[in-house]
Amino acid sequence: MVATTTARTRLSTALFAIGLFVCAVAALSLVDLFLPRPYDGVVLESDSPGAVRVRGVVPGSGAERAGLRAGDRILGIDRDLLRSTAHADRLLAARRVGEVVPYLVDRGGTLVEVGVRLGRRVFADLSYLFACLLGFGFFAVGSFVLRRQPALRPAQVFFLLSVLFLTFLICRLRPASYTWMDSFALGLGMVALLLLPASFLHFFLIFPEPVPLRPRAGAPRYRLRRRLWVGLLATIYLLPLAVLAGALLRSRVAGSELALLSGAPKANWWLLAVYLGLGLTALALNSRRLADPRLRGGGFLVLLGSIFGLAPFLAVAVAFPAALHTDPHRLFVLAALALVPLTFAVAIVRYQLLDVRVILRKSLFYTFLTLVLSAFYGLALAAFNAVAQRSEVARTAYFPLLFALAVVLLLEPLRRWSLGRVNRFVYPERGHLEREIAEMELALSASADLPAVVRDLVVRLPQLLEIRFAGLYLLREGALRREAGPAELPAELPYQAELHRRLAIAGRPLRCAELEGRERAAPAGPRRLCRQLEEAGVEWLGDLTSPRRQLGLVVLSTSSGQLPLEEADLALLGRLLRQAAVALETGLLLDERARRAELERELEIASTVQAELLPARLRLTRGWSVAAACRPARHVGGDFFAELPGPRLGGGAVVFGDVAGKGVPGALVMMAAHEALQTLALTHRDPAALFDLANRRLYRTGSRRSFVAVGYIAPAEDGEVEYLVAGQPPLLLRRRGGEVEELPLGRHRLPLGALLDGGYVASRAALAPGELLLGYSDGAIDALSPEGEPFGAARLAHTLASSPARPEAAVDHLLSTIAAHSGGAEAYDDITLVVLAREPET
């Protein structure tokens, strides 16, 4: 979908470029009318290709004075028989203004020779002026629609339609003379006229919704249908050209002149009528089947515009072709045509829920402004003429052009300066915006409520700016994550420091194009990010950076209204975003603090729960006393100890474990290990089997790094201890004499869950009465002093050696010694100690 949108946007860009080129050609052809060159005052018949036939003469021109009139055919100029209009142009170019040139004219079969005095070309055709205005109006409306909806196919076809109309109106209806530009413009106008019906039909087939003929992605036999659709469109566009070629061929074979009706062969007019009939039928049927009344309304509006705008033009062009060439009548023929761009544009724009009232108001305003400027120009010209009447400058034919250019250059800064003010005057919404933003800024400065700030940015701001949406991205863990905004926006964006730097330098929101345009070689990262956002409909990017840190990005969509954001608005917006960033930061900090407090509360609870898992007292076997303690490094820890049924009947065992990892994740693994050992011990009392099974279960649970070091000690009444150490440090045995020794470890001593294969083997040791056995987790020996020195196994053994005989006292002694070593600092790792003492025989 994104790729399709990008392709369509690119197509729109290409279309716009072509349209602009055609518009420039049309404008040049207009300028050409004013270029100083000898001119006889003849307006040539454009429907007689190859013949130099008079359509009319400019009042007061040499041709009029010589008696040339409509219908005359000029056969020769200046003693040369004409081969073409270009030939006539060359002949006249060789003469000077004021000279009398002989013309050979065929008037109804009679040849007459007249002398025509050459003058300057003048523009006295007001109806053509109207046609030009209409043409440029078409182009302006088409451009507006395309810029608003570049990815919308009907907007693209409408733009094509507008360009073709521009070409037809300016080039085909041109009061043509002999120059190459006249021939070129007429040819271009003829091509436009031929393609116009095709583009109309194309438009009717896709507006307001594509007719069912058009394939939809994913539909069955999509490829085949697509091929058929493309073939149909190609046929629609190529058929008029084929009909023209046929007409040309026919006239060539028959040896007759190609008869044109208002610029196209009769067959093409028939085709045009067929196209329009088909198109309007398709539009009517298509609109009827739509459920959305808004779309139906759009279709109906286009239908009305086509019927009332095109029908008079078509009827007159076909039935009374001369009317298009008769200057006083042409105005009436073309007048209704203005309905076409207006109704089509309104339909397309309404279809996209844009504000039509603003379009109309703006149109009216610019019409008024044009009148004022024209009056100003006229007055300035008159004033200049009065002052510099006798100067050479005023006499040159280029003077009006140069003067117009000078006026435009002078007025441009004034226009820029006044645009904002005028907009505020004409559009009261503009004043409201400033006030509303100021109020919002004030509210933000007093707010620390994060949801309120987000709401202001994402809900209220789009309403104020008349944009379709806004989105908020916050910088979290090195990426920009969508905090709020429509689902079309990407959920996550890569953080681009360069982008933020540029936005920060600008101090206001920027368009992607501006970001790229400032430096041609914009880095690829920001460019890609921009593209991604543009495809989602984003136009503006604003930075959210507080004085302390970067917080994120605000993205604003294209406008849904008519008013563009101006420099002053952007500056306001920049200020608002800075204020919002401060409010956002405060809100985030408060939010974070609240969340931390909540977390701490939750950890307390978890710690309590975990502590409750540990048995308060251990009663293993007669003749043994046991004590154990667990000190988690954080609120919740990964160490545990538990009492299990021992291998011998009636006997118990103690296990103590240390989970790789600390905090909440460690605690969760600890819970799993604890649960596994407890449940498996119910059915498997042999420690080796128990460890093998627990190992397999833990191996298959959670991540591969979640293994558990476990120690197992099962004392027997006879003083023998069966033990198994998997991943834990070796057990320490304090003999009656106070010597401390490590009990040997088994061959397989990897932590549970480290490898799938087990193979644990339990070991045995015998304890005499009064002897102590210490099991501990590595947190006991890894505890660091403030200087960074670990407590160490040697110090532990030494502490055990001096510990009291009772296990509870021994545990307390050991813990207090370790704590003293750490200097009160938070423990580096969880510490678990299990002390068993064989009671003296009584």
């Binding site: 056969l75 020769g76 003693r79 028989l81 004409l82 050979l104 040849l111």
Partner: protein, 438 residues
């Protein structure tokens, strides 16, 4: 996408290269083989003059071209062509014969070959050369011109018209083509077309008398005598020694019944044209007047003093005079002389004379047959008497039809004459039918 481009682009380049090659070849063929810019400029001016029938000017320019580059052969073709009226063609013919054809451009080679055949008076070879070159280069103006001119000389009007039409499409300013197209159209009764051609000719060559003379001739035929006189006056104004125009001016004046102006015309012609021609014009005017006023007999009786100059036996005015003034014997005598000199075209004149005789003898049916046959042979443009002969023949035919009791046909015919020249439609020579049988 790339594959079609790889095929399309070289194909386009190939087509473009072929077009450029053909265009260069065409241009090369149309150039003339001289390295001297002065010679080329003079030659082109000479050609222009030649094309517009400015013989003297053409000759001067072509000789200037030859002087600037003596090895330049092309001016000699046209100097040789002009030598028919100016003499001195042998030198050029010899140079053309001696030229190395391989060193010439295609068009020059064609012209050299053609003029060699002309110099050798080998008409068949000349025709073959033209047709072959025309087949190879159907748009070459010189080939078209020579082929059309040959067809014109052979009275192959359709062929000549087709070739001249092609020629004016290639070069609209080729004035001789317009002149001949005008006459062909005139001969076939397409008078508007003919007038357009002559006026076009006059537009392109405003300083030439010939187009005005041709136009005058046409306008006389159409009965627009005042316009004809204006055109002919324009002709003699441009070229006071253009004697054909004095002759036509006299005819127009006589047709317009402005007898009082005849003397002035004869005086003006007398100062510019050969004496015998002016005498002939005077005789013509006097005969016309005698016939018009019904005084043919006294005029015929005093013919030697009034018209001392011998006229052509094909002169129809003299024949009528002979018939009306001298009687059938005198007319038969002239007819016998005419028959002795008859060729294809004047054959119609002989038929007309016989028809007149038959009508005068009261053999209206026979007259109808003869005059009808004459009408079929006559064109509105002819070497003797112009198109008015055809109209006059038709007028007499209408009389004969009346006499033969075929009034309906006569009226239809008069309507046809009136469509061309209303004045001649009213012609009804009562003297002729009142003659006693021969």
């Amino acid at each position: 996408m790339r594959k079609p481009l790889l095929i399309l682009l070289p194909s386009l380049a190939l087509v473009l290269a072929a077009l450029v090659f053909l265009e260069l070849r065409r241009r090369e063929a149309e150039t003339w083989s001289t390295d001297s810019p002065a010679a080329l400029a003079a030659f082109e001016r000479g050609l222009q003059a030649h094309m517009r029938l400015y013989g003297e000017e053409a000759k001067a320019e072509l000789e200037a071209a030859l002087a600037a580059d003596p090895g330049f052969l092309a001016p000699r073709f046209f100097l040789f062509d002009l030598s028919g009226s100016h003499g001195g063609g042998e030198e050029h013919a010899a140079a053309i014969r001696a030229a190395d054809l391989s060193a010439l451009r295609p068009r020059e080679r064609f012209l050299a070959t053609f003029f060699r055949a002309v110099a050798d008076r080998d008409d068949e070879r000349a025709g073959r050369v033209v047709e072959e070159f025309l087949a190879a280069r159907p748009r070459d103006p010189w080939a078209l011109h020579l082929a059309a001119f040959r067809a014109w000389n052979r009275a192959e009007w359709e062929r000549a018209e087709e070739l001249y039409e092609r020629l004016v499409k290639v070069d609209p300013n080729w004035v001789l083509a317009h002149n001949h197209l005008g006459y062909i159209a005139m001969g076939q009764g397409r008078f508007a077309d003919s007038e357009a051609r002559f006026r076009t000719y006059a537009f392109v060559a405003p300083d030439q008398a010939n187009p005005h003379d041709s136009l005058g001739e046409l306008l006389i035929l159409l009965g627009r005598y005042d316009e004809a006189r204006a055109e002919l006056e324009r002709a003699v104004e441009l070229r006071p020694d253009f004697c054909a125009s004095y002759r036509n001016l006299l005819r127009a004046t006589l047709f317009a019944d402005r007898v009082d102006e005849v003397e002035g015309i004869l005086t003006r012609a007398g100062s510019q044209c050969p004496g015998e021609m002016v005498e002939g014009m005077a005789c013509h005017a006097a005969t016309w007047e005698a016939l018009r006023t019904g005084r043919a007999k006294p005029f015929w009786d005093d013919l030697e003093s009034r018209c001392p100059r011998k006229v052509s036996p094909l002169d129809l005015l003299r024949f009528r005079l002979a018939l009306l003034g001298g009687g059938a014997e005198a007319a038969r005598s002239q007819l016998a002389q005419a028959e002795a000199r008859v060729a294809e075209m004047p054959r119609a004149l002989v038929l007309h004379m016989r028809g007149l005789l038959a009508l005068a003898a009261g053999a209206a049916d026979e007259a109808c047959e003869l005059l009808r046959e004459a009408d079929e042979r006559l064109l509105y443009f002819g070497s003797v008497g112009g198109g008015t002969i055809k109209l006059f023949n038709r007028a007499v035919l209408a009389m004969a039809l009346d006499r033969a009791g075929r009034g309906g046909e006569a009226e239809a015919l008069r309507a046809e004459i009136a469509a061309v020249n209303p004045d001649l439609a009213r012609f009804d020579d009562t003297q002729l039918v009142d003659l006693p049988p021969p």
